[in-house]
């Protein structure tokens, strides 16, 4: 008997474990994606005051003009870099060329050239953003002591000799320690940043990175800080100079963290820092519109026919079996159907929401029919009989009495079907909705993409910055889907009737 009881408990435990696995998997999925997405919802921007002088005629401005202005402003902030082309390139690479686009559009709307300096907020490159968000190992600052003499060795190379400070010696000991992690070290001295090239005796050999070099000679006890970067140049996309520039920009208040609105306002781009989901959101909207216009009425009418009018004939049962089978056909087959019929036979254009919506409409049609039939069936026959008894025709009984009573159930089914269509990817890939679209579509006949396809596309992007962006779009999509399902559940609760 005890064995039997144990077996009983074990069996029950298996069930609990199974449910635990399913639920915890869902939790892991949602949490891990939310974590990844979190960093994409905010971003760092570079704030620059652009001189109005360069912006004489707003309507004729081009990307190049603004870029020149941005570069001139950056140069005036870091004049020490002006001599070397390579150093300048490192500075310019921190913000992508097209980052001026939003500002450009804003300026082009203006009728009068602006007089005061314009505060420009520019997207930083994806690598810089990742660095600032701490995805790449962040730096750690250690005070070293007071500086001694600074001497110039050659262009950009300096020697900082010791100032008989205990800290300084301890610092050198730590550098000499074979157990110290191998990484790059920056040395900051009165607003200038150097890279530690070597130690020679009691002095440090430094390469200048950024910031104005202090006057040579005795440094009247200015504090020296060592910044451990925690990684080597070869292991990260940013150079030491770029990190030094970032530190200086941050100190000068030129870097601002704000909500990443461009995720919702920008269309797709080949640069992750400029890309947004606006085009895909609108594309999804148009596609769903077509799907709804096509599938919901047709589905409801088909259900009415099958449930209320169809004679019990061979043909009717064929249609029934067929609908049940169609509901279980893999979605990608519908993509093949769309490619063969809509694209190849009817020569409709690729990548447009009209075709996508029709394909998805055919895909969810069986779901809507099945749900609507269930809703119609749940209306008691007495309703029909009462209407018929009062002299209504069959059509009148169905459209005036049965259909309104079944409407909440039908609506619930339709919303759930639309949610399914909204999350569908594979069939749309086959009808070309994966094409790169840089404009927000304005009609169902424009080339477009949809949210799930955008997820797939961004996932396939090679830069690391795509990953949080992809997760962010997933969060947007899941939010919409959960909202739709909630509405369906609420509708069901609100209007559910037991007969």
């Amino acid at each position: 008997m005890r064995r039997r009881n144990q077996a009983e408990r074990r069996f029950k435990l298996y069930g609990q474990i199974a449910i635990g696995i399913a639920v915890s998997f869902l939790a892991i999925l949602l949490i891990s994606i939310s974590f990844r997405a979190a960093s994409a919802f905010s971003r760092h921007m570079l704030v620059l005051d652009l001189e109005p002088a360069v912006l004489t005629e707003p309507s004729e401005l081009a990307v190049t003009d603004l870029n020149l202005a941005v570069r001139a402003e950056l140069m005036s902030q870091f004049p020490e870099l002006s001599d070397d082309r390579v150093e300048r390139a490192e500075l310019y690479a921190m913000t992508p060329r097209l980052a001026v686009l939003p500002l450009l559009r804003e300026l082009q709307e203006m009728t009068v050239p602006p007089q005061a300096p314009i505060a420009a907020r520019l997207a930083l490159s994806d690598d810089v953003n990742l660095y600032l968000k701490g995805e790449i190992k962040t730096h750690r600052t250690v005070p070293v002591g007071d500086a001694g003499r600074l001497a110039r060795l050659s262009t950009g190379a300096y020697r900082l000799s010791d100032a008989d400070q205990d800290n300084f010696i301890a610092f050198q000991d730590r550098l000499a320690d074979p157990g110290a992690p191998s990484n790059d070290i920056l040395i900051s001295l009165s607003g200038a940043l150097f890279e530690l090239a070597d130690t020679a005796g009691a002095s440090l050999i430094l390469n200048h990175l950024a910031g104005p070099v202090p006057a040579l000679g005795e440094q009247a006890s200015s504090p020296v800080n060592a910044i451990f970067l925690g990684s080597e140049t070869a292991d990260r996309p940013l150079s030491n100079r770029q990190i030094a520039l970032l530190i200086l920009m941050d100190d000068a208040g030129m870097i601002e963290r704000r909500f990443n609105a461009s995720l919702f306002t920008n269309a797709d781009s080949t640069y992750p820092e400029l890309a947004g989901a606006a085009a895909a959101i609108v594309g999804s909207l148009f596609t769903m519109l077509i799907t709804a216009i096509f599938a919901i009425p047709v589905g409801i009418f088909a259900a009415i026919y099958l449930e209320e009018f169809a004679p019990k004939s061979r043909l009717t049962s064929v249609i029934e079996v067929n609908i049940n089978n169609l509901a279980a056909v893999p979605s990608i087959i519908f993509g093949l159907l769309g490619a063969a019929v809509f694209l190849n036979t009817f020569d409709l254009p690729r990548s447009i929401p009209l075709v996508g919506g029709l394909v998805l409409g055919l895909l969810v049609l069986p779901t809507i029919i099945i749900a609507s039939r269930a809703a119609l069936r749940s209306v008691p026959p007495s309703m029909r009989e009462a209407a018929l008894g009062l002299g209504a025709s069959k059509t009148q009984a169905v459209f005036h009495h049965v259909l309104p009573l079944a409407a909440p159930g039908i609506l619930t089914g339709a919303i759930i079907a639309m949610a399914r269509a909204l999350g569908e990817t594979a069939p749309l890939l086959l009808i070309g909705m994966v094409a790169f679209v840089s404009d927000v579509p304005t009609s169902p006949n424009d080339e477009a993409t949809v949210l799930p396809v955008l997820i797939y596309k961004w996932f396939s992007g090679s830069e690391r910055a795509w990953e949080p962006m992809t997760a962010a779009v997933i969060i947007i999509l899941l939010t919409i889907l959960i909202a739709m399902n909630l509405i369906a559940v609420l509708l069901r609760r609100r209007f559910e009737r037991r007969w």
């Binding site: 077996a7 009983e8 069996f11 069930g15 609990q16 199974a18 449910i19 696995i21 399913a22 998997f25 869902l26 999925l29 047709v298 088909a302 026919y305 099958l306 064929v318 249609i319 079996v321 067929n322 049940n324 089978n325 169609l326 279980a328 056909v329 893999p330 990608i332 087959i333 993509g335 093949l336 159907l337 063969a340 019929v341 190849n344 036979t345 009817f346 020569d347 254009p349 049609l365 029919i369 025709s393 059509t395 949610a419 399914r420 999350g423 569908e424 990817t425 594979a426 070309g432 994966v434 009609s443 006949n445 799930p452 997820i455 797939y456 996932f459 999509l477 899941l478 889907l481 399902n485």
Partner: protein, 473 residues
Amino acid sequence: MLQTLGQLPIGWLLIAPLAAAGFFAFSFGRTEIGELSIGSTIGARLHSQPNYHGYFLAFCTILPAALVFLGYLIFSESFVRETLRSELPDYLLAQGPDQVSLFVERVARYIGNGPIDSTGNVLFDASVERYAVLKGQARLIAIMIAVIAAVGGFFLGRRPLNRSFPARTYVEQTITALLFVCAAIAIVTTVGIVLSLVYETVRFFSLPDGPGVFEFLFGTDWNAQTGQNFGAVPLFFGTLMIALLAMCVAVPVGLFSAIYLSEYASPRFRSWVKPILELLAGIPTVVYGFFAATLIAPLVRNLAQWINALPITPDNLLAAQPTNALAAGLVMGVMIIPFVSSLSDDVINAVPQPLRDGALAVGATQSETIKQIVLPAAFPGIVAAVLLAVSRAIGETMIVVMAAGGRALVTLDPTSDITTVTYQIVSLLTGDTAFDSAKTVSAFALGFALFGITLVFNVIALRVVKRYREAYD
């Protein structure tokens, strides 16, 4: 003039006049019959209410015109393109059908609103202009026929309107016919799927550079991107392997959840957990794919590398690829859990309560009742649920596209990357594809195989479920 007409985004403008005509016809029919009945002698009543006469006239007006527009939508584009194609100069036609299709496609896409900008290419500009003119002609013809059809329908429909005219009967017959057409769309879809797949598959096997049926079904080399080898065995193998891995997760977890939920759980617990399980089914597959590729696949890889590094195993025991079959299979299994659990839940609940009561009464514990009475009674239904789940796993696309890799291998190593039928269909048909090359058409042959396999599974499963339901109802 024709050119401008051809450029207008006209599709949506057609609906408004049609609706207006319908509304006009409706009110006209209603008032006219109303006037007829006013002057009538006592006792001469209308056969149908005035509304039905209105509907009758509206149908007469709208339906023929709508049919004309439908025909226009379906056939105009291919007609215009065919005409354009036949007028292209010979040197372009000589470049082969692929190039011609691409050229026509570019022309068709170039048309926007407003004046056509010159591209500098004389032939292209001329083609764009000609395309717009042809399109304008097609539209003009369609609109003229539609107007004639609408006006003709209106007057023909108006003639028989009198008091004894059975408008309601006709209207209701029309409505029933429309309902039937809607129901038939499901059939048309299936026929469309079968016809297009069969047609393209036959074309594939008759292409000069295509393979024979035997080579396709039993060949072990798959190299469709270069269009050389079309042996689909590695694809079928990969599909089955991933489906099997998925079933290893989905069947035990789904089945035990269903048993627990239907036999042990309190109603409160059930009302919470069931929607959560169903939520798993509502998550888009592309999200599962992302999850599998970014979290599970690296985990599997690390695990495989760790196993390889163990002293007792050879160093190259497992392939340990960054995308692998195991990750795709595991995540797909989780995705399928709700299918298995909700279907099994239904069949377990359908087992009549007296069977359970009888077993409990003779002293069996609850788990013994479940194992020896309920599960055997529900067995056919559970098999059907598993079959449906397998069919679902075979047809699943996004998870394998994102997490399973694309190498056509036959290997039992689950950490190797592996390809499936659905993966190949996507990779062959994504991007700009011409429908004339063996590479593109081979996707349809694969689709046909996929459709056939899943259909067999579905038909068997649905049969079993239906019979099972009848047995206990």
